[in-house]
């Protein structure tokens, strides 16, 4: 049964990937990439990697297509230049693929209990994390504590991304008080969409908070929560216009929040250092190490969530502001 599922999921993945590669219609390509994300998420679920699946569903199938749609609204739906069919490039891709296949020839079988990945560091995470960190979701334990510094780096990557977007498009960010024409929002005529989304926005936000604070117990955490929260705001903005969104959102505050999340994460590490332990050693945060671990993880996840949500909104607003600048000129 599982084999059949795997085969059908993987063949759909291949078909979708080919569709993305050959499509001249960029809107279709973005839709397909969203489907690709959803299929991968399903595939991860069959592999029992629910946390990864959740991330893929919210990022790969959710927010990145949204941002790509915003880009398409600026650059247009169709490729302006014909495909160049470069033979050397094709050869290189084939060579890389062959190398990847070569690499799989000697790897341990999937699910092999004696594979090095299962026998070396993993046993400690499985057996000890319950007493050392004390939360049920081992993935969160590894991500937020054992390898918490990697996660700190990843939040910084997200922050670096928004620095890049602001550097390129920051001048088009919509500011409060600026007159914003809503000519580009054809969707505003769709009554059903507007009503459904109005009903959905609040539950989506609530769900984001649930994902944020329930990450210790089930799949979830700051990355997914931030993305989901931002998606709620973005959907609202798409249907009700930038001007309505700007009544509650201040881009300067968002910019400060994007930086604040990273600083919050880092400050947990600094507090640990001031208490005489190593950077990001949450044991130092409370008298009882397990409590310390718990506090530390809650605070750093919050930092992640704040930065991710602020960054996603900023990127979207920068794109949307750019679109309005354009429609002003034309």
């Amino acid at each position: 049964m599982e084999l059949l599922l795997d085969i059908s999921l993987l063949s759909m993945l291949v078909a979708t990937a080919i569709g993305i590669a050959v499509s001249r219609d960029l809107l279709a390509a973005v839709m397909l990439s969203s489907i690709y994300g959803l299929l991968s998420a399903n595939f991860f679920v069959t592999m029992d990697a629910v946390d990864v699946a959740f991330t893929e569903a919210s990022v790969g199938a959710g927010i990145s297509p949204l941002l790509m749609f915003a880009t398409l609204a600026i650059v247009g739906r169709f490729e302006r230049y014909p495909h160049q069919r470069a033979l050397p490039a094709l050869l290189l891709v084939v060579l890389t693929g062959a190398m990847l296949i070569l690499a799989t020839l000697d790897i341990p079988a999937f699910g092999d209990p004696n594979a090095p990945a299962q026998t070396h560091v993993a046993p400690r995470f499985i057996n000890e994390s319950g007493t050392e960190i004390g939360i049920p979701n081992m993935v969160t334990s590894v991500l937020a504590s054992y390898r918490g510094f990697d996660t700190f780096g990843e939040v910084t990557v997200v922050f670096a991304a928004v620095v890049g977007v602001l550097a390129l498009l920051g001048s088009s960010l919509p500011a409060a008080g600026r007159k914003l024409p809503d000519t580009l929002l054809q969707a505003s005529n769709h009554r059903i969409l507007r009503i459904v989304s109005k009903i959905l926005v609040a539950p989506i936000m609530l769900f984001a908070l649930y994902v944020q604070f329930h990450g210790d117990y089930g799949p979830g955490g700051g990355f997914q929560a931030g993305v989901i929260f931002a998606a709620a705001i973005i959907i609202y903005t798409m249907l009700f216009g930038l001007e309505a969104a700007m009544k509650v959102i201040n881009v300067t505050v968002l910019r400060v929040l994007a930086a604040f999340g990273v600083l919050l994460y880092g400050s947990v590490g600094l507090v640990a250092m001031l208490n005489g332990k190593n950077f990001l050693d949450y044991d130092a945060l409370a008298a009882d190490p397990v409590h310390g671990q718990h506090y530390g993880i809650i605070v750093i996840e919050l930092g992640v969530g704040i930065t991710v949500a602020a960054v996603m909104m900023l990127i979207y607003f920068a794109f949307a502001g750019r679109l309005i600048d354009r429609s002003h000129k034309s």
Binding site: M99, L100, L102, A103, T104, L105, D106, I107, P108, A115, P116, A117, Q118, T119, H120, V121, A122, R124, F125, E132, S145, Y146, R147, G148, F149, D150, F152, G153, E154, T156, V157, F159, A160, A161, V163, G164, L166, A167, L168, G170, S171, R255, V256, A258, A259, F260, V262, L263, G266, G269, L270, M273, K277, N278, F279, L280, D281, Y282, D283
Partner: protein, 500 residues
């Protein structure tokens, strides 16, 4: 606090970047980032001293010992590179304010400094870490911020150059990630020291071979090794002047470091020497890089582009040293990392001064510059002489060690070609000298030196080129010890800052 130095080195700029974004006013942002970079430089100096006296330093992040947690592991090799990167960042940043004010729109200047600190943190993080996956995370930070820094230029072409670099860099980073994933599959660990112990058991599998291949190609893309160098000349030419000075002096050094670390520490000398015929490939590609890039450099009208091509050639020299596979060859590479940072720092800093005063950087702009900006022109010439490898400059030291390393292995042809390559450098540098000193200035050309805040860092770099060309004790002793410990001694560390 002294035991926290390895991590402070990286988190100061890492936390400084978001703090800088909150500060927002460009003038404060500049002073703040300079302060942070200078602190990182001081820390790297202290670290090098600690390592020199007490051996390797290990710092367990989060208190989790490796391989379960991530560790920072400072030995002579990365302590030396930390010093180069933070030092050059500080010197260039010292002279950056006016140039940034002129070349970058006011509302983007703070973002420029934020991206700079991120880039610095990313590079320092790659150098300091002892964890293979952590390398990838910090590679992403430094790459993303580098694309931002390049795209901030006023020139429209910079956008295209940044995009080109983004595509190539992303492919490179993905290849590195694939390699790390394959290694994890075969060993179950991400820690470099642990990998070094566990890889030999599985060294003859095709998976490990593929892992090495992906990592080497990925790093060589970031390194701009011929023939993967196409992104570099555009990126260096169109980036803001100070960014070019910073990147040319540091970014490729970090990539060479990764190549050395993965080849000699993680996979081990035996694997990368005997199982893969990589050394002859490296020597061959290095030589082609030297000759092809130097030839192209001779014909450029834009002198920034000419010196950018020269960077591709200089990377060739570093790779030749690596390809020799001996202690002496590796030492020549490490020396050239240091020396090349000094010479490219000086040359591109001179161009920062030129851009500031005359606003252009083509051969027509610099005609007669010897009379109009005598100090800057002289600094440029000194940097050029160092690039050629004239005695009493650092360039001579690197060439000397590289040639003697080749001779000691009986590779006299390689030695001869290295010397011939320097003749090409004479040609492209002499051409610029001729234009600066023997051609008349265009009429009404701007004259006068750049302000002292730019000139002082420039002169510091030029003096560095001469000082370390005469008193070679520091770089030579450090690189000698680092090279022999990489190739001869085992990889073991001293734990600081207790782990659980």
């Amino acid at each position: 606090m002294l035991s926290h130095l390895p991590i402070l080195q990286v988190i100061l700029p890492l936390l400084g970047a978001p703090a800088c974004l909150i500060l927002w006013r460009p003038r404060i942002a500049w002073a703040f980032s300079f302060f942070i970079s200078a602190l990182a430089f001081i820390i790297s100096g202290l670290l090098l001293k600690q390592v020199w006296q007490g051996g390797e330093i290990v710092y367990a992040l989060g208190g989790w010992e490796a391989p379960w947690g991530i560790e920072y592991r400072i030995d002579l090799l990365n302590a030396f590179l930390l010093l180069i990167v933070s030092g050059l960042s500080t010197v260039v940043l010292a002279g950056a304010r006016q140039s940034v004010a002129r070349e970058i729109p006011a509302e983007k200047q703070t973002l420029f400094y934020v991206a700079w600190l991120l880039c610095l943190a990313g590079q320092l993080g790659i150098l300091a870490t002892g964890d293979a996956f952590n390398v990838f995370v910090f590679l992403e930070i430094s790459s993303l911020s580098t694309y931002t820094l390049i795209s901030l230029s006023r020139q429209r072409e910079a956008l295209w150059a940044a995009f080109q670099y983004l595509i190539v860099g992303t492919i490179g980073a993905t290849f590195v990630l694939i390699g790390i994933g394959l290694m994890y599959m075969m060993t179950g660990t991400l820690n470099m020291a642990d990998l070094a112990q566990r890889l030999p058991e599985v060294a003859d599998t095709r998976t490990v071979f593929a892992a090495y291949a992906f990592i080497i190609v990925g790093v060589c893309l970031k390194l701009a090794l011929f023939p993967l160098h196409a992104w570099l000349p555009n990126a260096y030419t169109f980036a803001p002047s100070v960014v070019t000075a910073f990147l040319a002096a540091t970014a490729t050094k970090v990539a060479v470091y990764l190549l050395i670390r993965f080849s000699f520490t993680v996979f081990g000398k035996d694997f990368s020497t005997f199982d893969v015929p990589l050394h002859s490939i490296f020597i061959g590609l290095g030589l082609i890089a030297v000759f092809s890039a130097s030839t192209v450099a001779i014909m450029q009208r834009n002198i920034k582009r000419a010196i950018a091509y020269s960077s591709v050639a200089q990377i060739g020299y570093m790779i030749i040293g690596l390809g020799l596979g001996s202690v002496l060859g590796l030492q020549a590479t490490l020396l050239h990392l240091f020396n090349h940072a000094l010479m490219k720092g000086a040359l591109f800093m001179a161009m920062v001064a030129m851009m500031l005063r005359i606003g252009g950087i083509t051969v027509d702009d610099i005609a007669g510059l010897g009379k109009r900006m005598p100090v800057t022109a002289l600094a440029f010439v000194t940097g050029g002489l160092s690039l050629i490898g004239v005695p009493l400059t650092v360039g001579f030291v690197s060439k000397w060690y590289l040639v003697s390393a080749a001779f000691s292995q009986g590779m006299w042809l390689v030695a001869l070609l290295v010397v011939l390559g320097s003749l090409l450098a004479v040609m492209y540098i002499w051409r610029l000298v001729e234009i600066m000193y023997f051609r008349e200035s265009p009429e009404q050309a701007p004259r006068g030196e750049a302000p002292l805040t730019v000139l002082l860092p420039l002169l510091l770099l030029v003096l560095g080129n001469i000082y370390f060309g005469i008193d070679t004790r520091l770089p030579v002793s450090v690189t000698e010890a680092a090279a022999s410990s990489l190739l001869v001694e085992a990889y073991q560390g001293v734990q600081v800052g207790g782990a659980k």
